[in-house]
């Protein structure tokens, strides 16, 4: 078969294959941040700190570690996403310039974006699935329906990833990436109802939590794990997260084209 043009989906899959080829050689470097760090969080906060917390109304009647685990699944997805959506994408534009090599083939800038997002989604799925397994082994997750929290966590992660990838495509310098971690990811981790209920925060802070993908993700993950999820709120959370993904893709298409077809 001769060289030919691929459709968007095949093109994205081939791009994922390229990332996978890299990952097969370099996965060891990602183990600590992707798999070990969330487990340390679960041990320190859930098992360690959690032993001092009384199960009660605030924890939905669950032991603290059980209350925390589904939320950590979502937090893990977002924390794993942030590096991939900033430094890794920036490098592909600027340092390794691998995107530039790819767009001189029949692959278009939009295909490059799809491939990158699909690859990150797979990484998030793997990271959260491994975390789920460890949480089950530690007894922090006992409900079988928690399996459904994985896709919700990936969706929340991608609702964060897609707009950030689009933002990264506009950057000439990597200066702002640490700020994203400090001023977006850290507060989203700590103040969106994961470690303690949102009701502990002053009312005026609640809307700030509601715009974050993490809060929606935690509501979904906890709801599905504890069987408290109602259809209408669930549809609202999913719609909001999906809208962020779509927004990120629309902007990303524009910025990738602007950056790669000059």
């Amino acid at each position: 078969m001769n060289a030919h043009v691929l459709g968007p989906f095949r093109a994205a899959l081939v791009a994922v294959e390229g990332h996978w080829t890299w990952y097969r050689r370099n996965w060891r470097a990602t183990v600590i941040s992707n798999f070990l760090q969330p487990v340390l969080f679960l041990l320190a906060m859930g098992v360690g700190f959690g032993s001092q917390v009384q199960a009660g109304e605030a924890t939905g009647g669950h032991p603290y570690v059980v209350f925390l685990a589904p939320a950590l699944l979502v937090i893990t997805a977002v924390q794993n996403a942030v590096f991939e959506a900033t430094w890794a994408v920036f490098s592909a534009f600027k340092w390794q310039r691998s995107y530039l090599a790819v767009v001189s083939t029949p692959i278009t800038p939009a295909h490059v974006l799809y491939g990158q997002l699909l690859w990150i989604a797979l990484r998030l799925a793997a990271g959260t699935a491994v975390f789920l397994g460890i949480a089950v082994a530690l007894g922090a997750i006992t409900s079988p329906s928690a399996v459904l929290a994985v896709p919700f966590a990936v969706l929340a992660g991608m609702a964060f990833t897609a707009p950030v990838v689009a933002f990264t495509a506009t950057r000439e310098k990597p200066d702002s990436f640490n700020a994203i971690f400090r001023f977006l990811v850290m507060p989203m981790t700590l103040f969106t109802g994961g470690f303690f209920p949102l009701s502990q925060l002053p009312d005026w802070l609640h809307p700030l939590a509601w715009v974050t993908p993490v809060w929606h993700g935690i509501e979904l993950a906890r709801g599905v794990t504890f069987g408290t999820l109602r259809l209408l709120p669930a549809a609202g959370h999913v719609a909001y997260l999906a809208a962020l993904v779509v927004l990120g893709i629309v902007l990303g298409r524009r910025y990738f084209h602007r950056r790669l077809a000059v």
Partner: protein, 316 residues
Amino acid sequence: MSDAAANVMVVTSTLVHAKGLTKHFGSFEAVRGIDVEVGKGEAFGFLGPNGAGKSSTMRMVACVSPRTGGELRVLGMDPDVDGPSIRARLGVVPQQDNLDTELTVRQNLQVYGRYFGLSRSAVRERAVELMEFAQLTDRADAEVEPLSGGMKRRLTIARSLVNDPELLLLDEPTTGLDPQARHLLWDRLFRLKQSGVTLIITTHYMDEAEQLCDRLVVMDGGRIAAEGSPSELIRRHSTREVLELRFPPGEQSAAEVRDLAERVEVLPDRVLLYTGDGEAALSAVHARGVRPVSTLVRRSTLEDVFLRLTGRTLVD
């Protein structure tokens, strides 16, 4: 064959056709209306100093950079409409290597081949052939990062051939390489040309242009300053020979020899006499009692043409 038939032949085998092609970046005009035709099987060169617009032109032909104005057809198609289909049939060697330095030599070829829709087994076979061609077989499973500049360049060229391109675009293929590496690359490019691949090369090395190009254009300031084969350009824009008279700095006596050549150029340490017969000019110089430190009679080269057309001012 009638003239009309001959013309048709020429038209159907045109791989690149550009007319009044322009490229602007904001208010900067990188390419200011150039006309170029490249035919099948040709080795065509863009020669020019840094900033002449060569790379911008190449990127437009490679269908990665949309043109600002003018006509452009590559393989008979419009890059704005059929970019992906054109790129499927092109090979591109960019000025800066953009290999995946964390992958092996073999993986670079295989991954890249997949972007052209080639099957896994096809890219596996192709990688083996290309590593053979680029003399990289013994490095097949080595990571790219520590390879020498020459090896990386050969790999970039090998990678550009993965889809069996009809047209190969090489942007300064040998810049920064040592002489051995350059000659090895030239040899590979010459073989490609022999096998019928059309080459478009940008370079600021005159020897490279003379070695590889059937026909070339000299670009300067976004425009085409001259066009022709290397020998035509020398004939048209220089003399057959050049007599170089070397003096201690500041002691050149150009005034005494100015009438002995078609054109005389005074440099800080040398006087260049452009003439049809260098030996005769040298005798005349000696007869006038001018005593340079050393003398050299040489053939005119593309470098003389180039410097004549684009000036000796340094371009950064």
